[in-house]
Symmetry: C3
Subunit: 139 residues, 3 copies
Amino acid sequence: MLRQSSAVLPIRADRPGLTEFTDKVREFVCESGIQEGLLTIFCRHTSASLVIQENAAPAARRDLEAYFERIAPEDGLYEHDDEGPDDMPAHLRSALTATQLSIPVQSGRPVLGTWQGVFLFEHRRATPEREIVLHLVGE
Amino acid sequence: MLRQSSAVLPIRADRPGLTEFTDKVREFVCESGIQEGLLTIFCRHTSASLVIQENAAPAARRDLEAYFERIAPEDGLYEHDDEGPDDMPAHLRSALTATQLSIPVQSGRPVLGTWQGVFLFEHRRATPEREIVLHLVGE
Amino acid sequence: MLRQSSAVLPIRADRPGLTEFTDKVREFVCESGIQEGLLTIFCRHTSASLVIQENAAPAARRDLEAYFERIAPEDGLYEHDDEGPDDMPAHLRSALTATQLSIPVQSGRPVLGTWQGVFLFEHRRATPEREIVLHLVGE
């Protein structure tokens, strides 16, 4: 019989950029006792986002961060800067990546590939605590 | 016992760019009577897309629209222009944003953050009526 | 009564760029016998991704491929190039598109629009075999 489980996961990044939280996601799935199902990860913010990326090479992470700094730069002549120069780039980088990720679960584990990690992509320098909602349906 | 609900939501934007329809999404969830679950919003088009963004500041919306006009411009020397100069940029802007969004539901409401709104991102100037499919599984 | 079905779909692209596999997705849904539900397609890689795009015009496909070659180029002065010059652009193009797509199912078919196809976006020249996980919940 299918059932659901959900949780709110608070995450504070140490610095802007990518912060991996794959372990916390796996732990939530494991504790739910659900073996087969669908896991959804939802970011409740518009200036931070989610990305599944290579979790082995730190250089790949730095390149990805630098890339988004280039394509959605702080000096982009934006109209909206109520909260400072990192405000509007944060919205743009969020729109270009993901607010939500869904991952099938098999044998009690998300089916992430060998090199895939789940990352919070923090776009603000102030790095406030972020709320990530986890939802799992399955049996 | 888990159950499902679904609906087709027709939306016509007044103009190209972002059109919020968060209220219609909340209404669908409310009318379903489902308290806890997973809501999916799916756009049945390749020249319009979905984005969750800041719903408070109009300037942020204008900046986001202007940004996508810059990074996927109409004068991009495309091979494909069967339907005019806004045809190919529409496909590119769709690929860069989302065709689908899934949002957990708690206490009968999508768990959107305080500043998060759900927007149709219309990329064509003709702004045809668009079909958004809503699906909810839960109990 | 809701139930689940899942499968692993191996796909090898003939060449880098877009390879449509909509038919295989429809076949999986059809064989499951599930009439109403939610289909999730998940790519277990960080150098290949998923995109829903126009499936009629080959020129649109070529333009989309050329666009991503321009905005995340091979000569991007990346720090990370362990696996060659197409390594880091592959991660960037993956981050800009989708690792996962969820599509509602009605009357035994994914509710794709008339012109929507599901594509693997292969970013590596070596085009290794890719694992796509399909998950369907419904009844």
